[in-house]
Amino acid sequence: MLRKIRITLAFIFFALLNLILLGAGWGITQHIAFVAKLQFLPALMALNFGVLALLVVLTLVFGRVYCSVICPLGVMQDVFGWMGKKAKKNRYSYSPEKRWLRYTVLVVFVVCLVVGFAPVTTLLAPYSAYGRIVNSLFKPLYDLLGNALAAIESNYDSYMFSEVQIWMRSVTAFVVALLTFILLAVLAWRNGRTYCNTICPVGTILSFFARFSFLRVQFDKNKCKNCSLCEKNCKASAIDFKEGKVDYSRCVACGDCVDKCKFDALHYKPILVASSQTKTTADKPDEGKRAFLTGATLATGTALFSQAKIKVDGGMAVIEDKKEPHRDVAITPPGSISAYNMNRHCTACQLCVSNCPNNVLRPSTDPFHFMQPEMSFERGYCRPECTRCSEVCPTGAIHKITKEEKTAVHVGHAVWIEQNCFPVSNGDSCGACARHCPAWAIQMVEKEIGGKTVSVPVVDTAKCIGCGKCENLCPARPFSAIYVEGNKMHIID
């Protein structure tokens, strides 16, 4: 029963979280964004005390159900563990708690959190790790499917699906996600919740409270026949049936043992009485199915590389791809207040990246902002009606803003590059940047350049909001004649 409830709830949370992490939209994003906001570290980053208190109380009452139900990385590992158990039954065994490792990692994590060294915290954060896996590995497949459906329905005058670009936002983030995925899949396949109970800082923090949980799995000594099934099926390696003990700091309250016990000797119930005991030997983990798993992840990776190319027709001019210019200051999305605020709060879960419908956000490769989002405009620009990233961000790195507020946020300012500008370089009159500027920050002004009078753009930086429309629509390629420099602190009118 406990197991069924756990699986049902986990399925619901996991499905909803995947939906938003895939950027599925369907017009329900803002209604299901709460599943991201319930995540522990994002809530901590956002100083969302309500959620934090809720999670602590939850753990004090039920044990680490957070790890079994709410945490997507935990659920993902359960999926692999379940597959591992299919391959070989009764595969787990008890192992003592590796407290020194758990606490070392936690200390390192907390220190990095306090000094604001993002690369370590973002790498260790479980929810963020899962977000990156979805963004880098699953989203391309999801988009591929959507594009295929769009291609099919376009024959039937139907407009449910729209085609999206599939592109590599960051090689680094992809590699990190792939490695995380492979490592966790292998660990979970062989040993269940190894990561959660040795590395994961959230797991360690919650374990402090779980040790004192009100409801917990307990042995009924009178009924126990020492069959060892419970220990062999404990993915957290937390049951020592010989001693009749459960390590509640590692138990994730999954209910598998209760379900497995043929003698009704295990119960998930309020703290009361104790245990019984027997002996068995542990099974060796199976190495057999690893190859398949690695193969599968590699296939996922290859699919990502087959990016949709821009279709070029014969009767049409070839359009060169834009290249990202060097920016002295990276641009962070409206609502993130400042580079500092972004850096301090972002756990690099890629939720905003997945949800950006304009292909603007991508993970940073700067080591100090490792995989945190930044903006660039080769494929699109920050559209005025869109506030998606601010709606989904669970950490307070991007605060919720309305589209009206967004018009008053200056995330950067445009810079003109004379030698790239068409009126100067090839003599064609243009003015695209001025015509498209939504903030009326660009004016075309007659100037004498190289002995002739040409009409060139002049940017009023006080008005420029840094949306990147000018950069994106500038006809100069591969480098635009106008590009946006970030503002370290967003100027707000």
């Binding site: 407009y159 821009i310 001019a317 064609d428 498209h436």
Partner: protein, 459 residues
């Protein structure tokens, strides 16, 4: 313009459609009567009222070169259509060195040369649009190459192509002088006519009325004789060409000028690139209510064929089905009576009010140096008008959201993002290429503003 599901009345003698046993409307495959022929007053040529325009030939990948520019012309389909056309009395074939990315003449030559030369008339043009081909040498070479491509030693109808269009950075008048007068080419063509290599010499007109008037004045003065003139004529352009675009001239004027000189008129754009064949339901309903025997395309063809001075009505046909339907419409022509004529002219008002962009998808503007798919953008916009799915403030909320999505998703599907209207920089290179004289950059900005307002939901 394939047979539409029109409610059928009792079949009269002239019925174009009939009912199959299951009650659905099917095309009548019974033998046609004779194709209507018009006599050229200059030399007695009996020309079919339906002329075959060779500018929208099918390509192997499907559709025309506009949809699939890289695909080769489907020669088998061209052969089949030309065979069918000749078999059913169509004997006027109009091509140009510029059509189908320069491959139309060759394809036409291959298909036609399989038949006796006396069975058909070839019309082609001196399409020296590019200033590099304005020289005497290049222009003459163009004509000679046409003969080679068409596998013939004479052209029945030769046209100066696109008179009245500007070009080479010059206005229409100077472009005309640059292309045909300063280089002596017009005089040379007159000589070729005397030598029998050209049987009829004329011009096709788009654009600046000053050039049209001047050429007809020359005709009056006996300076040059025009055996025929090709003009754009249809029931929308008859009285609205000038209202749609103040720089254009109503067809009623152009035709009257030709008629009073007894110069035969060859008609182009009878359907405005298909726009008069595909119309909003409100328009087709009126047409059906008036006489459901005729499809919207058939109505337009009847209009264009009704004036007696019309020698041939050209249709750039891609599909055999369109050819069959058009052949049927003119076998024989059932001329419009006065009330029908007035009815169509009144209907033109309704069509004008739709404010579609007057693009006929001729592709002359392409390639845009900045990669835009100009006819693709216009045709998506016009398609939404024609299908009555244009989102507007007048629609109710649900309908608006549905139409908005259909417009935006459909836009991305029919034109890749990088080739959409927002990438127009207003360089104006396209302006001189457009025979309809559309202010393309202006329209692009208009469409982009519309798209923006849809995206921001502020229509």
């Amino acid at each position: 313009m394939a047979t539409t599901s029109v409610v059928l009345q009792a079949c009269s003698k002239n019925s174009r459609q009939t009912k199959s046993s299951d009650g659905s409307a099917v095309t009548d495959n019974s033998p046609f009567e004779q194709m209507t022929l018009r006599e050229n007053p200059n030399n007695g040529d009996k020309v079919s009222l339906l002329g075959f325009g060779m500018m929208r030939l099918p390509v192997e990948a499907g559709g025309t070169a506009r949809e699939n520019p890289d695909s080769p012309i489907d020669q088998q389909a061209v052969n089949d259509m030309i065979d069918y056309a000749l078999e059913h009395g169509v004997n006027y074939f109009d091509t140009s060195p510029a059509y189908c990315q320069g491959l139309s003449e060759r394809s036409t030559g291959i298909a036609l040369s399989r038949h006796p030369r006396k069975d058909y008339f070839i019309a082609t043009k001196l399409s020296n649009f590019s200033p590099e081909t304005w020289s005497e040498k290049e222009s003459k070479a163009m004509f000679e190459r046409s003969l080679v491509e068409l596998k013939t030693d004479y052209v029945d109808y030769l046209l100066l192509h696109g008179i009245g269009m500007s070009g080479g950075g010059k206005d229409a008048m100077n472009a005309f002088y640059g292309r045909y007068m300063d280089n002596g080419i017009l005089d040379w063509l007159v000589e070729q006519k005397k030598a029998g290599r050209i049987r009829n010499l004329g011009f096709s007109y788009h654009g600046d009325i000053k050039v049209f008037d001047m050429l007809l004045r020359w005709h009056d003065e006996g300076k040059y004789h025009w055996d025929f003139v090709q003009i754009e004529l249809n029931y929308l352009d008859w009285e609205y060409a000038n209202e749609i675009n103040p720089r254009n001239t109503d067809a009623v004027y152009l035709y009257a000028e030709l008629e009073k000189r007894n110069i035969p008129a060859v008609i182009m754009e009878p359907l405005l690139g298909g726009r008069l064949a595909k119309q909003p339901a409100a328009i087709t309903r009126k047409l059906s209510e008036r006489d459901s025997r005729f499809t919207p395309a058939a109505w337009a063809f009847r209009f264009a064929g009704t004036p007696k001075g019309v020698l041939s009505v050209l249709s750039g046909m891609t599909y055999l089905e369109h050819l069959q339907e058009n052949v049927r419409t003119y076998s024989p022509l059932e001329p419009l009576d006065d009330s029908e004529w007035t009815f169509l002219l009144n209907l033109a008002r309704d069509i004008y009010e739709l404010k579609a962009i007057p693009c006929t998808a001729c592709n002359y503007c392409m390639p845009c140096p900045y990669g835009l798919n100009i006819p693709g953008i216009f045709s998506h916009y016009n398609k939404c008008i024609a299908e009555g799915t244009m989102p507007s403030a007048a629609s109710n909320e649900n309908e608006y959201q549905r139409q908005r999505r259909a417009f935006l998703v459909g836009y991305d599907r029919s034109v890749p993002k990088l080739r959409q209207a927002d990438h127009c920089i207003g360089c104006n290179h396209c302006l001189s290429h457009c025979p309809q004289r559309i202010d393309i950059p202006h329209e692009m900005q208009k469409i982009n503003r519309f798209v923006e307002s849809l995206k921001q939901q502020i229509v």
